[in-house]
């Protein structure tokens, strides 16, 4: 029975927090869930479509090449290390570590993206060519859209941290930016397997 007025004093608690306790971290994870669901459904639809036709791809269209996309995984996965360093720096309010991590992330992600553009350019089909073209371009387009968005956001964060225009909110931004990037790296791997290996493996059966 609590009948007397009671109080719970919270003035001693920190006025911010840079960790998975922050609501923004949860928001970012949920957005990753949304996009992850979308990509997984699209992969399922892609494989479903592949299994419903006999000839894949249509005569005249190539399978996407394997070499460059596979090599591009190296800078992509390493770029997540940059994100990790930056987010640890953000938690400790270590400015140089944030700058180093964000820059490492940006440079490696840019190398990955440049390799993707070269490979993409070498495809001999576009989205209008056939159903394989529609899916490959959709995967590359959607993932690139996210990657470019995150590169711009990382650039803005680097500007904020270098210029000193940053506070707890921007540090939290660095932390959740790493969550976005981990997601974009992780989701690319099943997409890569689906579009570069999936049809080939199904072919050989």
């Amino acid at each position: 029975m609590e009948l007397a007025p009671k109080t719970l004093d919270v003035s001693h608690l920190e006025p911010f927090d840079i960790s998975s306790q922050a609501p923004l971290w949860w928001g970012q994870v949920l957005i990753a869930c949304i996009e992850g669901t979308m990509f997984c459904l699209l992969i399922a639809a892609f494989l479903y479509t592949r299994l419903r036709v006999d000839v894949w791809p249509l005569p005249g269209d190539q399978f996407p090449h394997l070499t460059l996309p596979t090599l591009a995984l190296i800078p992509l996965i390493l770029s997540a290390v940059g994100s990790f360093i930056a987010s640890e720096g953000a938690k400790r309010n270590d400015r140089s570590r944030m700058i180093f991590g964000l820059t490492l992330n940006l440079v490696l992600a840019a190398i990955f993206f440049a390799m993707r553009i070269v490979e993409w350019h070498s495809l001999n089909f576009n989205w209008k060519a056939d159903i394989q073209g529609s899916y490959v371009w959709a995967f590359l387009g959607l993932h690139s859209f996210d990657v470019v968005g995150d590169l711009v956001f990382t650039l803005v964060l680097i500007f904020c941290v270098v210029s000193g225009r940053y506070g707890e909110k921007q540090r939290l931004g660095v932390h959740v930016d790493s969550v976005v990037w981990y997601f974009l790296v992780a989701i690319w791997i099943p997409i890569y397997l689906a579009i570069y290996w999936g049809p080939k493996l199904l072919e050989s059966q």
């Binding site: 009671k6 922050a22 949920l30 479903y48 479509t49």
Partner: protein, 646 residues
């Protein structure tokens, strides 16, 4: 953390209150109105906009019923009829039912959780503007003779470029994009609010059932909406940039569209009706004045509903020719939903049976819900069975079924909820006498309209035909349904009269007119922008009913008490709230919410330019992304750094 037995120490209460008022004040003028980020204002905008859509959708329904009132009617031509029934379905599903539930949740959840706003107030404003954009875009199409005319689920190949040239389908598909982005914004911010901003001590087993229902609904939105993103993008890109996703000539697959659409479409139905189950639980608890029977069973049923909803979409596709194992699986999973819904119905009945029932208008609507929803559930079991489904597929039996579950399962609880929470939203009571008349008009009108449709369906009347011959013998039942539709319309008008009359002349409500249990009733009516002077502490599952933890709470045990435990030590000179831990809601840190901002509106305008433009020229996807990106930069640009100092 222990609470201490002292009164809140307030050196200068008046000054603190005026500080709170000032910090949480919304701006003035049109600029201020566009910059609002408080959850009451945004929630109310959702509700009002959704009711405008309900009126439009209702008028379309009446037009359909007039056309079908007798055989060989020529009131609407076949093309116009296609447009009207498609716009009716689209409006009711995407622009009324989902958004109105979101609006109620945005309004109520922060108060029920005992906090001051949603976790992401500006995202909330952004979501509303996009929803409004979707409404305006669809009805711009309707009023410029470009209404969609291919049915609310837009199956290809009918909806493809070959059979529906022009922009009708594109406008429909892009309207979907507007509403899905809006719904995802709402789901994200509500989950973050419920997980991280609950009142201290509101552990998972003390969350009000309405908040549980919104949590489940929001997670369903997060996992279902991406499917409609894909489905509508298939349509749009096939139509505008000549991809082949659902084009069988180039290896695409129209059946895949149905799978993807219904992987969204079935959970969508539950996204509409699960919040309504939350309304029912709240109303039943408050008006039977006792704790809900079987709280754990109720929560588990809600969660199970959420999971099962993703495993039964194929029952919409039984007529497409499926492998038998698929048919058997989806029949079983569809019937399973009757178990989790049945558990909840029995819990409500037991609560009502053993409570001190006060027969208010809100409770009338709950009784109406129980009757209609159970009938709709029974026809649902019929439709889950493949041989029966094949007999009545695409007939009026299906129309009857889904109106029973959606109007009975969502609209009746919604009306009940509005009667229940209207005093909180406006500070005045609605007229109970008019409310009961309103209820009986809706209840009788509803059954008169939709019950005959079961029989019409069994007699073979197909959906979506604009007329029928006199030799079919369907005239009388159709006329009955049309008369019923007008009785529903009168009921709707009575509701609006009650809303507007009570706004002026209703009895003053006070904070807790129903002596209800949950925290929103501790706030003023109508609530201040900051909701609570001191954030509350949830000392039990029914924080406004005080009872020893060992005994079931009920109003008879104790009066609702004014001296509740509260939180002190939050700063009032900025929009500060408390973040608590996920499971036990122990205080973790303080958190400053952003204030009013024009940027959500500007960003929504930029995004809308991209969405609408891309229907006419694909390059708008690029230019729209660039201007939206610039707007987001403005949104996130660091400004008041000093505000961030502890």
């Amino acid at each position: 953390m222990a609470t201490q037995d002292v009164s809140p120490h307030i050196p200068n209460e008046h000054a603190e209150l005026s500080l709170l008022d000032r910090v949480w004040q919304n701006g003035r003028g049109i600029f201020g109105w566009l910059s609002v980020t408080t959850h009451h204002a945004i929630g109310m905008r959702y509700i009002v906009t959704a009711f405008v859509m309900l009126l439009l959708g209702g008028i379309e329904a009446l037009l359909v019923r007039i056309q079908l009132a007798h055989s060989n009617n020529t009131f609407l031509g076949p093309d116009r009829y296609n447009e009207i029934f498609t716009t009716h379905g689209t409006t009711m599903m995407f622009l009324f039912a989902v958004p109105v539930m979101e609006g109620m949740a945005i309004y109520l959840v922060p108060m029920m959780c005992g906090t001051r706003n949603v976790a992401f107030p500006r995202l909330n404003a952004f979501g509303y503007w996009l929803y409004l954009g979707g409404c305006l875009f669809l009805y711009w199409g309707v009023f410029t003779n470009a209404a969609p005319d291919m049915g609310w689920f837009a199956y290809p190949p009918l909806s493809g470029p070959q059979f529906t040239p022009g922009k009708r389908t594109d406008i429909w598909a892009q309207m979907i994009t507007f509403t899905e982005v809006s719904a995802l914004c709402v789901a994200t911010e509500l989950i973050a609010t419920i997980f991280k901003m609950r009142a201290p001590r509101m552990s998972l087993n003390r969350i009000p059932l309405f908040v549980w229902s919104i949590l489940v609904q929001s997670f369903m939105t997060i996992f279902a909406m991406p499917a409609i993103v894909i489905a509508s993008s298939y349509l749009l890109s096939d139509r505008t940039v000549a991809t082949h996703f659902v084009n069988p000539a180039e290896g695409g697959d129209p059946i895949l569209y149905q799978h993807v659409f219904w992987f969204f479409g079935h959970p969508e139905v539950y996204i509409i009706f699960i919040p309504a189950l939350g309304f029912v639980s709240a109303i039943v608890t408050a008006h039977s004045r006792r704790a809900i029977v079987g709280y754990p069973a109720m929560v588990l049923s809600l969660i199970a509903n959420g999971f099962i909803a993703f495993g039964l979409w194929v029952h919409h596709m039984f007529a497409t020719g499926l492998p038998q194992i698929g048919e058997a699986y989806f029949t079983a999973s569809s019937m399973m939903i009757a178990v989790t819904s049945g558990i909840q119905i029995f819990c409500w009945l037991a609560t009502l049976w053993s409570g001190k029932v006060r027969l208010t208008t809100a409770l009338h609507f709950v009784y109406g819900f129980l009757v209609i929803f159970v009938l709709g559930g029974l026809t649902g079991v019929v439709l889950a069975s493949v041989p029966l489904d094949l007999q009545v597929h695409d007939t009026f039996f299906v129309v009857a079924h889904f109106h029973y579950v959606l109007i009975g399962g969502a609209l009746f609880p919604l009306f009940g909820a509005l009667y229940h929470w209207y005093p909180k939203m406006t500070g005045r009571m609605m007229s109970e006498r008019l409310g009961k008349i309103n209820f009986w008009f809706l209840f009788i009108g509803f059954n008169l309209t939709f019950f005959p449709m079961h029989i019409l369906g069994l007699h073979g009347m197909p959906r979506r035909v604009y007329t029928y011959g006199p030799e079919m013998g369907w005239d009388n039942l159709n006329l009955l349904a049309t008369i019923g539709a007008f009785i529903i319309a009168i009921g709707g008008i009575l509701f609006l009269v009650n809303v507007f009359w009570s706004r002026r002349h209703g009895r003053i409500a006070g904070n807790n007119p129903w002596e209800a249990d949950s925290l929103e009733w501790a706030a003023a009516s109508p609530p201040k922008n900051y909701n609570f002077e001191f954030l509350p502490v949830a000392t039990s599952r029914y924080p406004l009913w005080v009872a020893p933890e060992s005994e079931p709470a009920s109003l008879s045990k104790a009066k609702t008490q004014p001296d509740r435990a509260v939180v002190t030590g939050l700063r009032n000179d900025r929009r500060e709230v408390l973040v608590t831990t996920l499971m036990d809601a122990e205080p973790h840190h303080r958190y400053v919410l952003p204030g009013s901002s024009i940027w959500p509106f500007i960003t929504a305008i930029c995004v809308s330019i991209g969405f609408i433009g891309s229907v006419f020229n694909p390059w708008y996807i690029i230019s729209g992304s660039i201007i939206s990106g610039l707007a987001l930069l403005g949104w996130f640009w660091p400004r008041k750094l000093l505000e961030l100092e502890p």
